[in-house]
C-alpha cells in the first residue's frame, strides 16, 4: 500500500500510520541499535510495536513485500526514517540480519534462501551474527584461515572467529571461510551457519567498559548443508565486500542516531558552571564542545546531502569510507566531551555513588573507542578513501 502512494501523499500517510501505531510508552526511548538488546519501554509495548512494523513491512522498508518488506524506494525510506525521528519513534527491527545480510541476500542469494531467511529477519524473529574476523585477520580480513572442506553433501568448518557480536544471543551466523589456499581473496566462500550446529562453541569477550557483546566463536567439525552456500565456492569475497558496504552505511547512520540521543548541550547546561552572561564558565571546554557541535551538525547535514543526491539518482559526493570515519570521529568526540563535562562525576564504574546517567555516559565513553575499530578500522577506511576514491596509487 505505502509503496504505491505518490511521494507527496506518502509523508502524511506514514505520519498518520506512526501516530496510530506507535505505542505512547515508547516515545523518546533509545532505539535498540541491534536486535539483541533487551526490549525497551513498558512491558509488551516493544513487542507490539515490532509486530505492527513487521505486519506493515516497515522494519525492512526497502525489501520486496513478498519477503516481508514494504517495497519502498530510497526516497520514501528516507521520509519514513525522518518521520520516525520526528515522532520520537524508532525502527524496532534492527540487527545485522536486517541491516547487512538481507540486502546482500537480495542481491546474491538463491530464491530459496531469500524465501527461507528473509521473512524471519523482517519480523525480527531470528537474530544473525557475523563470522568474519579471526585472530590473525582483523583489518586484513582476506587473510582468514578458517578451513572449509567440501564433503560432498555438506561443508565442514574448522577454525576460530573473533569479535562475533552477540554470537551468544544469535540464531544464525553468516560467515566466510577458506576453501582454497591458492588465492588469498579468491579462495574464500560465504556461508550461512545455524548457531545450533554441533561443534560450534561461543565464548563472550568482556570489553573495557565491562560489557560483553563480542564473542570468540570456535568451529570444530561444524557441518553446513550445501544449500547454505551464498554465491559460489571461492567467490565469497565479492559477497562479503558488498556486505561490508552495507555495514559501513548502516554504522554511519547509527552513529548519527546515537549522537542525537546524547544531548551534550543539555548535559553541559545541567552540570557546568555558568558565566554571568549564561554561557559556560569554562571557556576551554566550551570551545571544544562548540567544535564538536559544529562537526556533529555538519555530519548530520552530510548524511542529508548524500540522501538527497541518492534520491536525485546521483553518485553521492562523499564516499562511504569518509562517512564511516566522520561518524566515528563525531562519536569519539562525544564520548570524550561527555566525561570531561561530568568531571569528577565521570569516574564511576558501578554502584550508587553515581547516577545511572553518569555511569551510562562513562560506559559510552569507553565503548565509543570501538567506533574507529569495528566495521573496518579508521586506517582501513582512510586507505579506501585515498586509493579507491581519490585514485592515489598503492605503494
Amino acid at each position: 500500500m505505502f509503496a504505491d502512494l505518490p511521494i507527496d501523499e506518502f509523508r502524511p500517510a506514514i505520519r498518520d500510520w506512526i501516530r496510530e501505531n506507535f505505542p505512547a510508552g515508547l516515545r523518546g526511548c533509545r532505539a535498540p541499535t541491534n536486535g539483541h538488546e533487551p526490549p525497551v519501554g513498558p512491558p509488551g509495548e516493544f513487542v507490539l510495536w515490532k509486530q505492527r512494523c513487521a505486519d506493515a513491512g516497515l522494519g525492512t522498508p526497502m525489501w520486496p513485500v513478498e519477503f516481508g518488506g514494504a517495497g519502498l524506494d530510497q526516497a520514501k525510506a528516507d521520509i519514513l526514517a525522518e518521520e520516525l525521528l520526528e515522532a520520537g519513534a524508532f525502527n524496532p527491527i534492527a540487527g545485522l540480519g536486517a541491516m547487512m545480510l538481507g540486502p546482500t541476500l537480495l542481491e546474491f542469494g538463491t530464491e530459496e534462501q531469500k524465501r527461507i531467511h528473509l521473512p524471519p529477519i523482517a519480523r525480527g524473529d531470528l537474530m544473525w551474527c557475523q563470522g568474519f574476523s579471526e585472530p590473525g585477520a582483523g583489518s586484513d580480513l582476506a587473510a582468514l584461515r578458517m578451513r572449509c572442506e567440501d564433503k560432498g553433501d555438506h561443508f565442514l568448518l574448522n577454525g576460530q572467529k573473533v569479535w562475533t557480536s552477540y554470537a551468544h544471543h544469535s540464531d544464525w551466523c553468516f560467515a566466510i571461510a577458506r576453501t582454497s589456499t591458492e588465492k588469498k581473496q579468491g579462495g574464500i566462500t560465504f556461508l550461512l551457519v545455524d548457531m545450533k550446529s554441533p561443534g560450534l562453541d561461543v565464548r563472550p569477550i568482556q570489553l573495557i567498559n565491562g560489557i560483553s557483546h563480542f564473542c570468540e566463536t570456535f568451529f570444530n567439525d561444524v557441518k553446513v548443508p550445501k544449500e547454505n552456500l551464498v554465491g559460489e565456492v571461492n567467490n565469497g569475497w565479492t559477497v562479503a565486500k558488498r556486505l561490508l558496504q552495507h555495514e559501513r552505511t548502516s554504522l554511519s547512520s547509527l552513529r548519527r542516531a546515537n549522537a542525537k540521543t546524547y544531548d551534550l548541550v543539555s548535559i553541559a547546561q545541567r552540570y557546568c558552571e555558568k558565566a554571568p552572561d549564561g554561557t559556560l564558565a569554562d571557556k576551554d571546554l566550551r570551545q571544544r564542545l562548540a567544535d564538536h557541535l559544529l562537526s556533529e551538525h555538519a555530519y548530520a547535514l552530510t548524511l542529508e546531502r548524500r540522501a538527497a543526491e541518492e534520491e536525485a539518482g546521483l553518485n553521492p559526493t562523499t564516499p562511504v569510507s569518509t562517512m564511516k570515519n566522520l561518524g566515528s570521529k563525531v562519536g569519539l568526540q562525544l564520548g570524550e566531551l561527555a566525561v570531561e563535562i561530568l568531571g569528577n562525576r565521570s569516574m564511576g564504574w558501578e554502584g550508587d555513588g553515581y547516577t545511572s546517567e553518569e555511569l551510562e555516559l562513562t560506559s559510552l565513553w569507553l565503548h565509543s573507542k570501538c567506533y574507529s575499530i569495528y566495521g573496518g578500522t579508521y586506517e582501513i577506511q582512510n586507505n579506501i578513501t585515498a586509493q579507491r576514491e581519490l585514485g592515489l596509487p598503492k605503494s
Partner: protein, 382 residues
C-alpha cells in the same frame, strides 16, 4: 527533511556549468598575478566584471520586479564557488550580494529604483564600509553619524573596505547613538562613492585584492541616505552579513576544492624514492582526512544557502557553521597544498601561496573561525 537544495536543480546546474566554463576560459589564476602589477584603480579587472554583469550574475539576487532574476542565494553560491576555484577577483559578493540584498530587503521603493538597476547592469558596483577594529564585530562600530539639518555628517575611520575604488555606492555602517558595542544605535547609510569628505588610502593586501582605508571627515549625506531604520540597523546588518557570509563560504569551498584537487594531482605525478609520493600512506591518510573536512564544510555551505532561500529560522546557526567550517577547511587545504608541494609550493611562481593568502583573508572577512564558533555556541545555548 526540508529540501536543503543539496542537489542543484536543472536551472542551477546549467548556471554552474556556464560559470565553471567561463572561469576556466576567461578568468585564469594568472589574472590575479596581473592585478599585483597592474595596480588598477578598481583593484579588480573592470572588463571581467562587465562580462559577469553581461552574463546576468549581478542580477541573480535582484528581485524580478526590479529587472533581476531573483534566482536566490544557492544560485549565487554556485557562481561564487566557481569563481573561488581560480581566485577570481571581483566585487560580486560586496556588490551583487551584500549591497543588493541590503537594498532589496531594507530599501525604500525610491532607493531600490535609484540603485538596483545600476547595480544590475554593472554600470556601478557597490562596497560595504563596516570594519574598523582588528576583529570583526558588527556592534562595535564607532564611526559616528550626527544629524545636521535634514541630513547627516559622518566622522570616523573604516578599514579594510574592499573594492572601494571607483565604487558608485558605499553602504556605510555608522553609529547614530549609544557607544561602540551597543546593539542599539547602529544605522546603515547609502553613500555615493564620490561623496565629499572621504579620503581614501589604497592598501596593498596579501591576497592582491583591492582594499582601502577610509577617513570620513565631515562627510555630508542627505536625509534619503538612511537605509532601513535609524538606530535599528544591527539586525538588518546581520541579515545582510549572513547572506554575504554564506556566499563567501561558497566561494571558499570552490577555492578549497581547487587547492585540494591540484594537490591530489601533484601527489599522483611527483616521484620521490622511485614512487609517486601519493603512494605514501601517511600522505594518503592526510588527503583522506582533508577530504572529510572539506565534505563537512560543503554540506554546511549548501544548507546555509538553502536556508536563506527558504527563509528558515536557522540561517544564523547554519551560516556560522558554514563560515567556520569553510574557514578551517580552506586554511588546512592551502597549508597542505604548500607542504605537500614541498619547496616548489613555497615559491611565488607556484599557485600554493595565492591560495594560502586568500584563505587567510577570507577567513578574516565577515568573521573568522573563532568568531563564528563563538556565535554558533551562543545560539546553541552554551
Amino acid at each position: 527533511m526540508t529540501d536543503r537544495a543539496f542537489v542543484p536543480n536543472e536551472e542551477q546546474a546549467m548556471l554552474r556549468e556556464s560559470a565553471l566554463g567561463w572561469v576556466r576560459e576567461n578568468a585564469p589564476i594568472s589574472d590575479l598575478r596581473k592585478l599585483r602589477t597592474d595596480n588598477l584603480e578598481t583593484g579588480f579587472d573592470p572588463d571581467l566584471f562587465a562580462e559577469m554583469a553581461e552574463m546576468g550574475w549581478t542580477g541573480i539576487l535582484v528581485p524580478e520586479d526590479h529587472g533581476g532574476f531573483g534566482f536566490g542565494h544557492a544560485s549565487m553560491g554556485l557562481v561564487a564557488e566557481q569563481m573561488g576555484r581560480n581566485l577570481v577577483a571581483s566585487p560580486l559578493i560586496g556588490s551583487a550580494v551584500a549591497a543588493t540584498d541590503a537594498l532589496a530587503l531594507f530599501g525604500t521603493e525610491e532607493q531600490k529604483a535609484e540603485w538596483l538597476p545600476r547595480l544590475l547592469s554593472g554600470e556601478i558596483h557597490a562596497a560595504i564600509a563596516l570594519e574598523e577594529t582588528i576583529a570583526h564585530n558588527p556592534a562595535g562600530v564607532a564611526l559616528t553619524a550626527c544629524r545636521e539639518g535634514d541630513g547627516w555628517i559622518l566622522e570616523g575611520h573604516k578599514q579594510p573596505v574592499f573594492d572601494f575604488g571607483k565604487a558608485g555606492l558605499v553602504i556605510v555602517v555608522a553609529r547614530t547613538s549609544g557607544a561602540p558595542g551597543d546593539a542599539e544605535g547602529v544605522t546603515l547609510f547609502l553613500c555615493p562613492g564620490d561623496a565629499g569628505g572621504i579620503s581614501a588610502r589604497r592598501l596593498t593586501q596579501v591576497d592582491s585584492r583591492g582594499a582601502w582605508a577610509l577617513a570620513f571627515d565631515g562627510c555630508a549625506l542627505g536625509a534619503g541616505s538612511i537605509l532601513g531604520e535609524v538606530d535599528k540597523g544591527l539586525p538588518a546588518l546581520e541579515t545582510v552579513l549572513d547572506r554575504a557570509r554564506a556566499v563567501l563560504a561558497a566561494e571558499m569551498i570552490g577555492s578549497t576544492t581547487q587547492a585540494f584537487e591540484t594537490t591530489i594531482e601533484y601527489l599522483k605525478t611527483r616521484v620521490q624514492f622511485d614512487q609517486p609520493i601519493g603512494s605514501f600512506q601517511a600522505l594518503q591518510h592526510r588527503a583522506a582526512e582533508l577530504l572529510s573536512e572539506i565534505e563537512l564544510a560543503r554540506s554546511a555551505v549548501w544548507a546555509a544557502l538553502a536556508a536563506i532561500d527558504a527563509g528558515d529560522d536557522d540561517v544564523p546557526q547554519l551560516t556560522s557553521l558554514a563560515k567556520a567550517l569553510a574557514g578551517k577547511a580552506f586554511r588546512r587545504a592551502a597549508q597542505e597544498m604548500v607542504q605537500l608541494h614541498g619547496g616548489i609550493g613555497m615559491t611565488d611562481e607556484h599557485d600554493s601561496g595565492l591560495y594560502l593568502k586568500r584563505a587567510h583573508v577570507t577567513d578574516m572577512t565577515f568573521g573568522s573561525v573563532a568568531f563564528h564558533r563563538d556565535r554558533y555556541a551562543r545560539l546553541a545555548g552554551i
